[in-house]
């Protein structure tokens, strides 16, 4: 092979780049994120239920928040009625974070695991809840 060392070096670099995720994860057990539901508000609940079924919350909570934002800020509505007819105030701080007052162990831990950069917290910090244990 003409310039064999260069060809082999090229192949080696290619293989390292192409299998990078495998090398990085070699021998590592994948650690699931800590998503903690241990907050005073949730512990008091007789049935542990989010505002919508769990599967929907997992994949669609950001879109619920997006529609809440639009409905509150643009249309002036305040109440969300969920799929089983229960009303909630449409508010990130007052509703979500009153139950999930442990933002770091809940929202944030899951987001950093998924590599999502959620910028809402620069304005919505849930501070009104954290000071009095998640109870309004």
């Amino acid at each position: 092979m003409h310039k064999g060392t260069r060809i082999i070096a090229f192949i080696a670099v290619f293989l390292i780049i192409a299998t990078m995720p495998f090398l990085a994860n070699h021998g590592q057990a994948s650690a699931d994120p800590e998503v903690s539901l241990d907050t005073p508000a949730v512990n008091e609940m007789p049935v542990k239920q989010c505002i919508e079924p769990l599967q929907d919350m997992r994949s669609e909570h950001m879109q619920i928040l997006d529609s809440w934002r639009d409905r509150v800020v643009r249309e002036g509505q305040t109440t969300y009625v969920n799929s089983v007819g229960q009303p909630y105030e449409m508010s990130l701080d007052e509703t979500c974070l009153s139950c999930h007052s442990n933002r770091e162990q809940f929202c944030d831990s899951c987001h950093s695991y998924s590599g999502v950069d959620v910028y809402c917290w620069s304005c919505h910090d849930g501070a009104s809840n954290n000071s009095n244990g998640g109870v309004e």
């Binding site: 092979m1 003409h2 310039k3 064999g4 060809i7 090229f10 192949i11 290619f14 293989l15 192409a18 299998t19 995720p21 495998f22 990085a24 994860n25 070699h26 021998g27 590592q28 057990a29 994948s30 650690a31 699931d32 994120p33 599967q55 997992r58 994949s59 669609e60 950001m62 879109q63 928040l65 997006d66 934002r69 899951c110 950093s112 695991y113 998924s114 590599g115 999502v116 950069d117 910028y119």
Partner: protein, 330 residues
């Protein structure tokens, strides 16, 4: 037909994955077996093609030159366009790979009346550049699903890509640019008559397949939501060679993964292999030093020659006898 067949193939592939996961519950096939198989085909094929290229003959120094060759000290030498050293050739290669400089010189040739006129044609360069850079950013962003903890660089790229904070989930700019660039590159083939004439199914298929990958990815983000937590667990499982299956992650995920698998498996065996080939193009990777260094074809084998001098030495007496003219009266 040239467009119809590849289009049908991509739609059929997507439908196959959808039906297979939604109704036949073949998640093991589409989520584990096929991705591994595709990766294997990709790696083996890539290495095979590179070795094949590495073994082919380079009989001449055929570097393409576009600037002043190195000559007398008072003639300005264009180091990057006409490199005379390996370093220069590396510099030119880097610029070629990162900025597509040779495509930048793409010309439009037209006949105006009896005369031929040349104009610049930068759209292909721009479309290609936007597509490739977007693809790179998209690929890097996807590493967040394969690495735990997510490196700051990777989440940083995601944050910059979504910096306009449009909508939720945040709109990534590269999602728009890659879609626009692919649409342009496709439209170019369909709308420009001469390029349509030249285009084959092998040109349309990769474009449509890439469009399929991009569209399925965007749809998964906004319409057919999947549970990202499970996706990440699945990807980490695949990457640590302990596959974990998720039966409830949503079939849209499998459509996306399957199209990506097809892309990877198809890559080395198709024109997409230009990704590796660019580094091996003799016109781009050779320094133009043919006046300083003699280029010897490494495939030259020793040839038995019998020169005229030797011939005359052998037959001198016989030649003299019949009166043939001799170079040397030995």
């Amino acid at each position: 037909m040239k467009i119809g067949l590849p289009l049908l193939a991509v739609v059929a592939l997507a439908a196959l994955a959808w039906l297979g996961c939604e109704y036949l519950r073949l998640q093991v096939l589409f989520g584990v077996v096929l991705p591994y198989l595709a990766l294997l085909l990709f790696l083996v094929g890539f290495v095979y093609r590179v070795v094949l290229w590495g073994r082919s003959a380079v009989p001449f120094n055929i570097t393409t030159t576009c600037g002043q060759q190195k000559s007398l000290p008072w003639v300005k030498h264009d180091r990057l366009e006409n490199p005379s050293s390996t370093t220069g050739a590396i510099g030119r290669m880097i610029l070629e790979v990162l900025l597509f400089r040779s495509l930048f010189r793409n010309l439009r040739t037209e006949k105006r009346g009896a005369r031929i006129s040349f104009g610049s044609a930068k759209w292909l360069w721009l479309g290609g550049l936007v597509f490739h850079w977007s693809l790179l950013v998209v690929l890097l962003r996807h590493l967040r699903l394969f690495l735990e903890p997510v490196p700051v660089v990777i989440s940083g790229i995601g944050a910059v890509d979504g910096m306009f904070q449009i909508g939720v989930p945040v709109l990534f700019l590269t999602d728009i640019t890659i879609l626009a660039a692919l649409a342009f590159l496709f439209a170019r083939r369909v709308l420009a008559p001469r390029i349509r004439y030249l285009s084959l199914p092998a040109d349309y298929f990769p474009l449509l397949l890439l469009l399929g990958v991009v569209i399925s990815g965007i749809l998964m983000r906004y319409a057919f939501k999947v549970d990202m937590l499970q996706v990440k667990e699945m990807m980490l499982g695949l990457a640590s060679l302990h596959p974990q299956l998720s039966m409830s992650a949503g079939s849209a995920l499998y459509v996306h993964i399957f199209l990506v698998s097809v892309l990877f498996a198809y890559f080395p065996w198709s024109k997409l292999m230009h990704a590796g080939g660019i580094f091996l193009s003799p016109t781009r990777n050779m320094p133009n030093n043919s006046r300083q260094v003699r280029h010897i074809n490494p495939w030259n084998y020793p040839v038995q020659v019998h020169s005229y001098v030797e011939y005359e030495d052998e037959y001198r007496e016989k030649m003299r006898k019949v009166g043939l003219p001799l170079d040397k009266e030995g």
